[in-house]
């Protein structure tokens, strides 16, 4: 029943008009085999008659030869003589589209059609091709739309104020300006507006008392400087960024690192980051600041959308294009005020945006994939700590050097004379003491007897993309050891289990196994002499205690990173491997450094130890193992006698330390301090990771209808100057970000208009353009076009600083005017399009909850960090946003579904909101806390409590009428519960507080 619309990229006819075929057989074939089927199965939707009955589908006429020749929305119906290339055959064969929709025709009939097309599609029918309405997108014409034009520069003589624009427009309509709002109203308005919290009684009183002409400006400056500004305005941006912390769909997997984006937005706004940088970072922060959490957190913007947790083979590709679509729609709606989603399947119906542009943008995002990364939460702190550590380390090293030069020769000499002979013989295996040990994905620490142990992760397993290996997820250990011995013959690697490891190890993969792809040993001179050079030592596999079937130890030294020594089925027990050096390592004159690299697939080893042997081909792990120290001391004594070069002396400290307390003290001071080097504070960030594939044009948005590779590009109608391809040599997203923020040639003018409008919108309730996410033809036109142009130009001129724009707007008379109504104005402009009064607005969900907490006196002002549930008393911007479990009080008061960019929230008034305010335990609790604030001594002074209650909740004193009503109410309530006792009075004051929360004035701000 579903008719795939025959829409294509190129709506043109590939066929010449069908000429007269002289082939009578062909005509006969058509009349007997084809025409009856067309009449029976196709005409009902594809004929002039169908059109007249408004049933024409896909703009396709099959009731005349000319109609067939002209094709439909998907282009040519058939290619004469080539049934295999004909769309008609695909449709009849139900290959990509299904015609007729009532059911597949019998195979014999389908074969007839193929035959007919191969005959050249003879068709004796007459009748004209029906002219089709066709919309050609003209980019040049499109550029004339107001929003797509360059910013009109503000001439110096053209320095009107906001109020001049407003007043001129009012004057033209016969409207009169309103008087200014009272100070109590104004401060309440601007507090909610800028920080989303009510002013305290003291703040109100101070402002009302302040005689200075700049009193209001001071308040504005204070609020803009307060962290509450970022929390309040960050929330507005999170709406357009469809921010959530989970994947939605099947299992709605939580993204523990997603909150960093929310924090980044708040911080960026508080820091008054220029808006262009704000945009650039969100589009390409991961490339612009590759090692900084700021960059990764910012591109949380791209990946904040929903993404299925379970992907099947059938849906993987479609889901990938859905993901790109989500990013594109969000970039379009939030930053450019463009609706791009529909262009996936067809040219934009209203705006001059061809499909080419959609796929060019998609191609710019091609290398953008969702995933977690682990990054340093505060690189500056880490850098400072490292600098300090290095500074502290230097004197310890100096002490060691001095000790080595001055004291060590005598101490070694003494030891050699009395102790060396008592030492045991060199065993078959000597365990090596690691000197340095670094890994890509893990921290390692040294345990006694040369064991290296896993000591924390540096980077999480990145999700494996289907069908390709991710970059940078495989572990790589780099270990160095020192020796002064000669003729090393073999290397041994022990892999050890331990209960703290996954499945007891020895590997760090979840199954306890490991896959060792390559072992590479390089011998280099420890203190190079002339003619000494590093050399890679070739290894021969001897034996491993355990290896999975078919994945032997030999794979680890075959030079092929694709093959591994696999220990998975054979995991969970201690294991060891022996390699012979193809030729013994002879050793360098002043010592040898062995550089051992272990390259794994996925994670590395939880515990390991490296040993060497000087026996010729030991070939067995049987026999003694001892630390290398004695053998080193022997070797040094043998090589140098009593007179040693200074650098050998420094090495000597390491080997003598176990036998000499003073040497140990000095040497361990250096070693232990090095081991205690500060580490970055690592956190998981949900952001963009490596991956992605080429993007193809899709016919009708269908992944099985690819139509050539798309190259990164831009939205043509917003571009000025020569045609633009994005420079992929740097990075396609960086290039896109550059273009988007380019005022002269790129999308900069629209970018400025859209954000200036958003700022106006949140100050006044409505934007100058009433559709903040749609500046296209379907959107509303600005009510004050020149004012919007002025604001956008001012923003650009001021270095894209948002706080300056806020201030300009807030100091205008338009913002400071009263909410009050004059009948004459109301008649002329009932919708207040011309801003003749300040329209009262209901608070958003977050502000309602935050106000309840603030007035209850228990708002926790802590900034940033992982999200919390609504049993917390922190500001609502920190509440968890899990797509399938949105927090009820938020959705109840119209917090949006975080699935698509939301430019404006709809305000509803429903009884369930009233029920929540009347009956919810949370509101009740806040009323009790509020009562305790205004009646702390549980006195019976009702009038004082009423006065304080009004001032705290509404920022004003009650009127006489209100005071009387409230007094009567409190009397009624306490009479019901026990009379004028302090307890009953306090209970009645709780009821009074509860009533204050329920009144319109609590949630509506004038």
């Amino acid at each position: 029943m579903k008719h795939p619309l025959f829409l294509g990229l190129v709506v043109s006819c590939l066929l010449a008009p069908v000429g007269r075929s002289a082939d009578n057989d062909g005509k006969h074939f058509f009349e007997t085999k084809i025409r009856p089927v067309l009449v029976d199965k196709c005409y009902s939707c594809h004929s002039v008659k169908a059109r007249d009955a408004k049933k024409l589908k896909g703009q396709l006429y099959l009731d005349s030869a000319a109609g067939i020749a002209a094709g439909g929305e998907s282009g040519a119906v058939l290619v004469k003589g080539k049934s295999k290339e004909s769309l008609l055959m695909k449709a009849l064969r139900f290959d990509g589209m299904e015609m007729p929709p009532s059911g597949k025709l019998p195979e014999t009939v389908i074969d007839d059609f193929a035959k007919w097309i191969d005959m050249g599609a003879p068709d004796p029918r007459t009748g004209d091709a029906v002219e089709k309405p066709k919309r050609e997108i003209s980019i040049d014409e499109g550029k004339k739309w107001w929003a797509f034009q360059p910013l009109r520069p503000v001439p110096p003589a053209y320095t009107k104020t906001i109020d001049q624009y407003i007043h001129e427009a009012q004057k033209a309509k016969g409207l009169t300006a309103n008087k200014p709002a009272g100070r109590e109203k104004l401060i309440r308005r601007v507090y909610f507006d800028l920080i989303g919290l009510p002013p305290s009684e003291e703040q109100v009183a101070a402002f009302v008392r302040d005689p200075s002409p700049t009193a209001f400006e001071k308040v504005v400056d204070e609020l803009l400087a307060s962290p509450g500004y970022g929390e309040r305005w960050g929330r507005h941006w999170l709406d357009v960024a469809r921010f959530a912390e989970s994947g939605g769909y099947e299992f709605d997997g939580f993204r523990p690192g997603a909150y960093h984006y929310r924090d980044w937005v708040i911080r960026a706004l508080n820091a008054d980051m220029p808006y262009t940088q704000f945009v650039r970072m969100q589009l390409a922060g991961d490339v612009l600041e590759p090692d900084d959490i700021e960059g990764a957190a910012a591109t949380g913007f791209l990946v904040a959308g929903p993404y299925p947790g379970q992907i099947t083979a059938k849906t993987v590709e479609r889901i990938r294009y859905d993901q790109l679509d989500d990013m594109l729609m969000t970039i379009g709606g939030s930053m450019l005020g463009l609706t791009l989603g529909c262009v996936r399947c067809h040219e934009h119906k209203y705006d001059p945006i061809p499909q080419q542009d959609y796929y060019a943008l998609a191609a710019a995002l091609a290398k953008t994939v969702h995933g977690p990364r682990t990054l340093d939460l505060d690189p500056t702190v880490t850098r400072q700590a490292l600098t300090k550590h290095a500074a502290d380390h230097a004197p310890l090293v100096a002490t060691l050097k001095a000790f080595a030069a001055k004291d060590l020769p005598a101490r070694f000499d003494a030891w050699r004379k009395t102790e060396l002979a008592k030492q045991p013989d060199t065993p078959r295996w000597q365990s090596l003491e690691p000197v340095t040990f670094v890994a890509d994905r893990a921290f390692l620490k040294e345990l006694p007897t040369g064991i290296l142990a896993f000591d924390g992760t540096t980077s999480p397993a990145q999700r494996r993309q289907r069908g390709q290996r991710p970059v940078g997820t495989d572990e790589h250990y780099r270990l160095t050891f020192h020796t002064h011995q000669k003729n090393l013959t073999s290397l041994r690697l022990d892999t050890l289990t331990e209960k703290s490891l996954p499945q007891r190890g020895p590997g760090l993969n979840p199954d306890g196994g490991f896959q060792l792809a390559e072992v590479i040993v390089t011998a280099r001179p420890l203190h190079p002499q002339a003619n000494e050079a590093a050399m890679v030592v070739k290894l021969k596999p001897v034996s491993a205690a355990f290896a999975d079937e078919g994945q032997p130890l030999a794979n680890a030294v075959d030079g092929k990173p694709g093959t591994v020594w696999m220990v998975r089925a054979t995991a969970k027990k201690d294991n060891a491997a022996i390699f012979d050096f193809e030729r013994p390592i002879l050793g360098f004159a002043n010592g040898t450094e062995l550089f051992v690299e272990l390259k794994f697939r996925e994670m590395g080893l939880g515990r390991l130890r490296v040993s060497v042997s000087t026996e010729p081909a030991p070939a067995t792990w049987a026999g003694d193992t001892a630390p290398q120290h004695v053998a080193e001391l022997r070797a040094i004594a043998a090589a140098h006698g009593a007179k040693m070069p200074s650098n050998v002396l420094e090495s000597l400290a390491r080997w003598l330390a176990p036998f000499d307390a003073e040497t140990a003290t000095v040497f361990h001071a250096v070693r232990d301090h090095a081991a205690a080097a500060p580490r970055p504070k690592l956190v998981e960030v949900y952001t963009t990771i490596n991956g992605g594939q080429d993007v193809f044009f899709l016919r009708r948005g269908e992944v099985d209808a690819k139509n050539g590779k798309a190259e990164p590009g831009i939205v043509q109608v917003l571009h000025r100057g020569p045609p633009k391809k994005l420079d992929v040599a740097t990075d396609a997203r960086v290039a896109l970000a550059d273009w988007m923020t380019d005022v002269d040639y790129g999308a900069g003018p629209l970018l400025a208009r859209v954000i200036a409008n958003r700022i106006w919108q949140h100050h006044f309730g409505d934007g100058l353009v009433g559709t903040p996410n749609d500046f296209g033809v379907q959107g509303e036109k600005p009510t004050h076009p020149e004012l919007l142009e002025h604001l956008a130009a001012e923003l650009v001129r001021g270095g894209w600083k948002l706080k300056a724009l806020h201030k300009t707007i807030l100091l205008s008379a338009a913002y400071r005017q009263s909410h009050e109504i004059t009948e004459a104005n109301r008649k002329l402009d009932p919708d207040n399009l011309y801003l003749w009064h300040f329209k009262p607005r209901r608070l958003e969900a977050e502000t309602i909850r935050d106000s309840l907490l603030a007035i209850g006196g228990n708002l926790d002002a802590k900034l940033y960090g992982p999200s919390v549930l609504d049993n917390s008393t922190r500001r609502s911007v920190y509440l968890r946003v899990k797509r399938s479990e949105l927090i009820p009080i938020m959705t109840l008061f119209d917090a949006p579904e975080p699935t698509q960019s939301i430019g404006e929230r709809v305000v509803t008034t429903v009884p369930t909101q009233a029920l929540a305010l009347m009956n919810s335990p949370f509101v009740r609790q806040q009323a009790e806390k509020f009562a305790a604030r205004i009646n702390p001594t549980k006195s019976v002074d009702v009038d004082a409590a009423i006065d304080r209650g009004y001032r705290a909740a509404y920022g004003r004193a009650p009127t006489e009428g209100e005071r009387t009503k409230m007094r009567t109410f409190i009397d009624q309530q306490r009479t019901a519960t026990g009379g004028a006792t302090p307890a009953a009075t306090h209970a009645a004051i709780v009821e009074f507080c509860h009533v204050l929360f329920c009144l319109n004035e609590f949630v509506y701000v004038d």
Partner: protein, 482 residues
């Protein structure tokens, strides 16, 4: 250059007014319709006010018995003798990647005994002994199909018309189109047990105002409604005096802000909340039903008590004018190996799974049909039975079936549809829909038609586009209409 003449039947009032007055809630004064283009109205728009349909519709309310997890068509309503004959033989044209796992490519016959029932001679398996008595009321759509092959995306597609989250579900569109018939109760109610996979994305109001959102009631909490109960310490008199004061002061506040229509709605909302405090518990109170009714539904039968309660609640709600009740069937007995949030998901043991799901749903669903009919409610109510997709005709493992969105059956019973009709068909093995295929957009177009709404005219603008429940598709299934 541009086509200003939008094809959609958009007739929203001026957007600013729409936003400002959106969801004024119940009982405001003027009833200007959102749908019918009364753009001149300056009075408040009550979004939930009852609105005239585009044309007279036969259905006033819908109850959708959502068989969560995806029942197998060839083991429920789509009898395939050929499949029974060819058990274990290769299934021609099978695609092992149709579902979530991989299937064997070998036919798996239905393990159930089948019999013909009713005047229509419809085949029904033994797992539906009660429903089999009502086949002549049922209009079977055997050729349903959709694109998604996993639970949440498919359920979203089935309820919202496309697989992308964030769009309104059928129920929200219904209320948006028709308003409510009872201001004291929500117009759109979801009854669930363990929340189905996909959760409230399946009953989302999407970008529509929250006044069109569903009230979801959890069987595990015995359908408790948040904030409905007055604080325990309060008497009615106390609350009344509180509400009177609130009304008085809110009225004074509203009087000097005459352009703010929502302030008046807010005053009303307290009165409605107060009434809802009483009306909702009454509607949900099953003790008001007779013992005989309890027995009819199986309320005291352990195997089906939860679904029985939900079905009876659905009847009570529909009786009181609720527009759309959707029940997401939970899990029956505890030892059948099925998964709580997708009970019909028979990947391993089709036989035990479907028997257990049948036991849980059969009697209550049949009772609902009988009860609605006895009360004359079936003339204005449509009952729908169906899940998010069907199952493969070939086996997964030895005795299971994988997901299959290419052909499955749902049935409609009640107002506006022909009973005993079998519309559309799958192939001989029940594997794919072949005849008169019904896409979810077609189903929605038909349901809206039954409600008196033209699916091409029921539009709402969001981010520059006029959205429809039926996206860009949808055809009314005329042959099934009575």
């Amino acid at each position: 250059m541009f086509n200003y003449n939008s094809a959609g039947g958009l007739a929203l009032p001026h957007r600013r007014r729409f936003l400002q007055e959106a969801g004024l809630g119940f009982g405001s004064v003027a009833l200007a319709s959102l749908l019918h283009g009364d753009t001149a109205a300056a009075a408040p728009v009550d979004q939930l006010a009852q609105k005239p349909p585009h044309f007279p519709g036969k259905v006033k309310s819908i109850i959708w018995l959502f068989m969560t997890g995806g029942p197998s068509q060839v083991d429920t309503w789509d009898y395939k003798p050929e499949l029974q004959k060819r058990d274990g033989q290769p299934l021609a044209g099978s695609d092992p990647k149709t579902g979530f796992f991989t299937t064997s490519g070998k036919c798996l016959k239905s393990p159930f005994k089948w019999q013909q029932h009713g005047q229509s001679g419809s085949w029904v398996p033994e797992i539906f002994p009660h429903l089999s008595k009502h086949v002549d009321k049922m209009c079977f759509l055997h050729s349903m199909y959709l694109k998604q092959n996993n639970h949440a995306p498919a359920a979203i597609e089935l309820m919202c018309g496309t697989n992308r989250p964030g769009l309104p579900a059928l129920g929200s569109w219904m209320v948006y189109g028709l308003g409510t018939q009872n201001q004291n109760l929500p117009a759109y109610v979801v009854l669930h047990d363990t929340r189905p996979r996909g959760d409230d994305q399946i009953w989302s109001s999407g970008f529509l105002p929250k006044s069109y959102q569903a009230l979801a009631l959890d069987a595990r909490r015995k359908e408790a409604i948040d904030n409905l109960a007055r604080d325990g310490k309060h008497t009615d008199a106390q609350q009344r005096s509180q509400l009177d004061l609130i009304r008085q002061l809110n009225q004074e506040h509203a009087d000097v802000r005459p352009t703010q229509a929502d302030l008046a709605a807010r005053i009303n909302s307290y009165e409605l909340a107060y009434r809802m405090q009483m009306a909702a518990p009454e509607a949900l109170d099953l003790t008001r039903e007779s013992k005989k009714t309890h027995e009819l539904y199986g309320l005291n039968t352990l195997a089906c008590s939860t679904f029985a309660r939900q079905c009876l609640l659905a009847r009570r709600l529909v009786e009181r004018g609720v527009r759309f009740v959707q029940i997401f069937a939970g899990k029956g007995t505890s030892t059948d190996g099925s998964v709580n949030d997708v009970p019909w998901d028979c990947h391993t043991e089709l036989d035990t799974n479907h028997r257990s799901c049948g036991l849980h749903t059969d009697q209550p669903a049949a009772a609902l049909l009988a009860d609605l009919q006895n009360r004359g409610l079936l003339d204005s109510t449509l009952v729908i039975w169906g899940g998010e997709f069907g199952r493969t005709s070939d086996s997964q493992g030895a005795k299971g079936r994988d997901h299959n969105p290419n052909g499955f059956t749902i049935w409609l019973a009640g107002a506006g549809v022909k009973g005993g009709l079998h519309y559309g068909a799958t192939d001989d093995f029940g594997y794919k829909a072949t005849q008169n295929k019904v896409h979810v957009n077609d189903l929605h177009a038909t349901l809206l038609h039954l409600l008196g709404l033209d699916h091409t005219k029921l539009t709402a603008r969001f981010n520059g586009r006029d959205f429809r429940l039926t996206d860009v598709g949808g055809e009314v299934l005329k042959p099934i209409l009575s």
